[in-house]
């Protein structure tokens, strides 16, 4: 039961952390709760489909379909997160100032919001499908401790959701003037971490060279299967044995998004004052 709980916890944790951060980041955007629930539901339904078609996906592109699928899902999520952060760099000030004076921005709010909630759906889809497969394996087997294993799965699920909720609740306690800067940095790091994971899958599919593998090995003092390592993996994309190419993707994503934020933020601030 304990082993089952840990496996499910690991899968749920990553999605829960992403959902927790995004739920906090979009809280002042009108209609965000509806989008959040829609993203969660779409992700859950999708993960059932992905699990059911694992064999089809896996055998696509001569056996590297799973890596391609993960790389595509992750890079879509990176793009959506990048778009959100760049969009926020020109609207964040207005959102922070007052919800009443938003005016024209309200209609655009749902656009910035929908991008993030696509990410919620994608995160749940990716992590959820593995959980579904794992639990299906238990349910299909005829082992005697089946019910205790399924109970373990439930415990793992609840523990993962609890961590996600803790992050959400913790972020809401941040004073408003720091709030958007904090969630902005968190979303930025999420995006960079996902870019690094994209590279990891493309290397595993032999579509990208690893450059150096591993670039370093910090598994002895911060293993990825320990709780701190797991949390850091989900939050900032920590990898105890990364390939050089992963770092290239990580840094590139950081630079591109920050440059985009500065560029759009700088360009639109004067016109906002003029209005």
């Amino acid at each position: 039961m304990f082993a089952t709980a840990i496996i499910v916890f690991r899968e749920v944790l990553e999605a829960a952390i992403i959902v927790g951060i995004l739920a906090a980041a979009t809280r002042s955007i009108p209609g965000s709760k509806r989008w959040l629930v829609a993203g969660l539901l779409a992700g859950l339904i999708g993960s059932g489909f992905v699990a059911a078609f694992t064999d089809v996906i896996g055998e696509f592109a001569s056996g590297i379909g799973q890596e391609l699928f993960n790389a595509i899902v992750l890079s879509l999520a990176v793009l959506m997160l990048a778009w959100h952060n760049i969009w926020m760099s020109s609207h964040g000030a207005a959102l922070a100032a007052s919800a009443k004076s938003l005016g024209k921005d309200i209609s655009n709010g749902s656009i910035g919001c929908s991008a993030l909630l696509v990410v919620v759906g994608l995160a749940v889809l990716r992590e959820g499908s593995e959980t579904v497969l794992f639990l299906y394996g238990i349910a299909a087997s005829e082992s005697s401790d089946q019910s205790s294993m399924l109970l373990g799965g439930l415990v793992g699920l609840l523990a993962g959701v609890a961590v996600g909720y803790t992050i959400f609740a913790g972020l809401l306690r941040i004073p408003m003037r720091w709030f958007f800067a904090t969630t902005g940095v968190l979303v930025l790091l999420l995006a960079a971490g996902m870019a690094s994971q994209t590279a990891h899958y493309l290397i595993q599919a032999d579509l990208l060279p690893s450059l150096a593998a591993p670039l370093w090995d910090s598994s002895s003092f911060l293993p990825e299967n320990g709780l701190p390592g797991m949390l850091l993996h989900s939050l900032i994309g920590y990898d105890s044995r990364p390939a050089g190419m992963q770092l290239v993707f990580y840094v590139t994503a950081l630079i591109v998004i920050v440059t985009g934020m500065k560029w759009v933020g700088g360009q639109h601030r004067p016109s906002r004052v003029a209005n």
């Binding site: 394996g137 593998a213 044995r241 985009g260």
Partner: protein
């Protein structure tokens, strides 16, 4: 306002795809020699063989065939690899080049029985 949306969307999209393109052009896909292909079978939640010896310093390919009726996940922290193999399905995994040494792997869904090791020498 629409222009802003288009710009903010196009910048990361084009940067990202340009980056991917440049990288894939700089490093053309290297064909693998056939003798660097290995086979692994999962049966009754066990890996067969449970030990594979591979040449160090070379990229290699493992074809994993899952003969069980339940899915399995090949996982190795040492190899930094993780891949689900569908019930009665097969999967291809690219690994390396590795330094000489022992690299344990396991089936995450059946960790008690599904254990193995890759030895690079």
């Amino acid at each position: 306002m629409n222009r802003l949306l288009i710009i903010t969307f196009l910048v990361p999209v084009s940067a990202f795809s340009a980056g991917l393109l440049v990288i894939s052009l700089l490093f053309p896909h290297v064909a693998l020699a056939a003798d660097n292909d290995f086979e692994l079978v999962i049966r009754n939640h066990k890996f067969q063989p449970s030990e594979i010896t591979v040449p160090s310093g070379q990229k290699f390919k493992i074809r994993i065939e899952n003969q069980d009726d339940t899915p399995e996940e090949f996982e190795s922290h040492e190899l930094n690899r993780e891949k689900v193999i569908a019930a009665n399905g097969t999967a291809i995994l690219y690994i390396g080049p590795l330094d000489a040494g022992r690299y344990p792997f396991f089936g995450e869904f059946n960790k008690e029985t599904a254990q193995g090791v890759i030895i690079a020498q």
